[in-house]
Amino acid sequence: MALVKGRTLPVIARKDLSALSKEKTILLAILLQLFVAMFSSFLMVGLASLYDPSSISGYTGIKYQVGYSGEESPLKELLESRDDIRLYPMDLSTAIAALKERQLVAVVYVPDTSPDGKEPVTITLYTVQNDIQAAIINVKLKETLLLYEDYLRVIRAGRLVVLPVELEFPDPAGAPVFYEFVYGLLIPLLLFMPAIISAALIIDLITEEYEHHTLETLLSAPVSMGTIIWGKILACFVLVPLQAGAWILLLTLNRIPISSVPLVMIHVMLVSLFLILFGALIALYYRERTGAQVIFSLAVVVLMLVVLATPGNPFNQVAVLSTGGPGAGQVTVLALVTAGIMVLAALIQKFAKTTID
């Protein structure tokens, strides 16, 4: 008897898919992915707004009140020239008292160290603990302090041996933080999430037949073990391009264009198939869910770490391809993943055969 029958395969796949859709679990899976996407985006927007508060409209046009204390210095003029800071020369004790009452957002104290002295100029920055204003004023003061550092460096330049190559940068435009986050992290994450979900799913589908003793019933029908397993794999696999495709569509609608979609999809689907086969193999070996899931999740963590630490990995390929860049070493990566799939498929065939005997 042939191990896999072509016509019965889709029947098994359809059976598992219809059970899945009846339970509406797939809805939960999609909701989960949306939630992850939302969470990571919110995280990003939140952090970016903290580093660059002016990206939130409500913060523009506000003048932050800063107290200045200690010696006169060029830092004072640098701070005064900013139009988002209002500087008040004050006595240190008064300034701190005002800071405690939140009449100021920060106090800067400058010592009388000479600009060309041996010692560094150590200024002290007082801010309110646990306060969002402290975070914002930190970012603003940092810009000015960097200018002051450059100024002091020029004065002390005679004492330096090697001067680094200086570069002149164009004025930053837009929010570049988002670009790297979206293409370098969010897109690979979203596109490979269906793979992980499907792999966890195949374990559940296979171990369930064992634990509920429904496998005997299925096998009493004219289907082979191989057909059952491959039908389940097919059911899990067809979910991948559907979900990944939906993500690509959603991202494009959100004005995040994704280049080389066919190649990206090929990478995603091959990696998914690899993971699904891997999950199936573990499930066939353990035949009960807890053990299979524990081993699978541990193994996936190990695998992910190794893969991500290897240059040119599929995740990297997807990131680069989706920005429109050329994925270097495509063929090698695709060939390696395909080889892995072949090995796993052969092992699954062997397992399916031993179960029949």
Binding site: E23, Y88, K100, T122, L145, E149, I203, V320
Partner: protein
Amino acid sequence: MTSLAQIFTFAHWETKKSLVLPGKTILPLAILLLILLGAATVYSARSGLHLQDGMYSAGTDDPEIAAIVAADARFRVTLHQEIDPARFHGAYDIIITDDRVYAADSGRGAAAAAALERVHEQYRNSVYSQEEDIFAAYPLLVRTEAVRSELDFSVARTGMQVVSPVRSSRAPEPAGPVTFVPPPDPGAGVSAETFRSGIIGSPDEAYQFFHYADYIAGSRGKEPYTTPSQLSPPLPFDSLVLIFVFIFPLYFISQFLMMSIMNERIERRGEALLSTPARSWVIITGKTLPYGAGMLAISALLSLFIGAGPALLLPLIPVILFFIASGLIIGMVARSFRELSFISLFFSTVTTVYLFFPSIFADVHIISLVSPLTLMIYTLEQEAYTVSQYLFSTSLFLVTSSVLLYAAVVNFREERIFSTDTLLTKTADFISSALRPSHPWLSLFFLGMLVVPFVFMAQMLLLVLVFNLPLPLSLILLLVAAAAVEEVAKSSGIYTFSTRYPGFLTWKSLAAGALVTAFAFLLAEKLLLLVTVSQIAESVFGTVLFSSLGLLYIPFSIHLVGILVSGTALKLGGKSWYIPGLALAVLVHCACNLWILKGWLW
């Protein structure tokens, strides 16, 4: 006494059956994988993560600059004899010639320029840190001092409004007494050599595993002095990673619990368990005890390992309880393995958001106190927190866990556990065991009170999610979503009654049921408000969420109108009209809240 003995017997069984026996079969491979995990961690720490390799293209005519840029794997660098930015325009994301950087006018170009700026900064640091005269290379040091403000909560509770308007050009005068602050010591207070080693060790360290290993071992303190480029907003990323180490075992162990409960339900294996003379609370306590003890033991070991002491566990205990309670319920409602996987995945994602997201702002904003993890960060930073802060962040976990545990105990019966109804029906089943047709009003009243903590938790999560959006948008989103959560929760009792006991829903009983539920909601809200939300209740967000701070009759009538709308839909059109009725109720609720908000916004 007998109950106690029984509990231990069940705990013993559970440990043997669900932990030791299956543990033996997977142990060899698990140990092998753990060893591999260690090796993989070392490998990835050595090699770094290659996710963004080759994302940007750069062209230059300067070999030295090409070497600098190529040091970062994100750049694909091409070296030309001579490069003319005008002629090569669009060929590269960035072009560097004559020490000038030209970025392509695309999102990728801007991102590449920003990335290059950071690469250049690191390069400069690597050159400067080699200097003999280190303080000529780093002539400016910044010492940051945090000042504790007496006005902490009253100011921060205004939500996003953080800046007081500038009134005059005259320096502000403190209203209170001025205590003398000695001027800080002008000396560096740091030797050239310690400073140099600090500079060399710092770039990009945050992404490396060993950095955290150091942190866990406690060998890395806070640097008192930073160069201006090291100055960064006080985000406690280190502590967050550390906290993740604590939460991860909880996820893992709760999976085992879910699976153990699920296993009892496969082919009615748990029948033997149910036929024992023990009461269901005894069985449940016994079954969950090993998992709770395991979670506690691992957490205690971890905190011992990092030398933090038992105080670190205090905020964690309610979280552990919550994991146990929800694991129990999830194991009881899931129909199949697939469903168990997805519900547990979904549950852990939502819980992660609830726990982690606020604590990122632990040192920044009061909103962070929503999560108990923030208190753990405070403990790690050796900062004290007050009892009311503890109650604020943990009480919702405690109350919801108790309600879930109660639901589990009441429903740990044959007809509930072994049924294979859909998730919604099952939830309704669980709710219905709190309803007694003989005392409909009393049961509706208690149900109303029991669901309020969940409503609060969901609303807190919403608050956390929308908090970073710009103000008008965040308010509108919060308004609609919060109203939806509340209406679903309020109508759950009447919905369950009307589907379980078809004759129940008359016009009279609808009116009475609505009155009772609205009253229960009001009462429970008031009670919870006392301990929890007072911290944010007075901000504009608080008004949206908990409009009940004003006059009593306003929130009461909003509750009442909401239930009446959805209940009327149920009465008129049955189950199929429930969703449209709910939508209408949400709309009405939003309109009412908007009307209250008017006092805040206009």
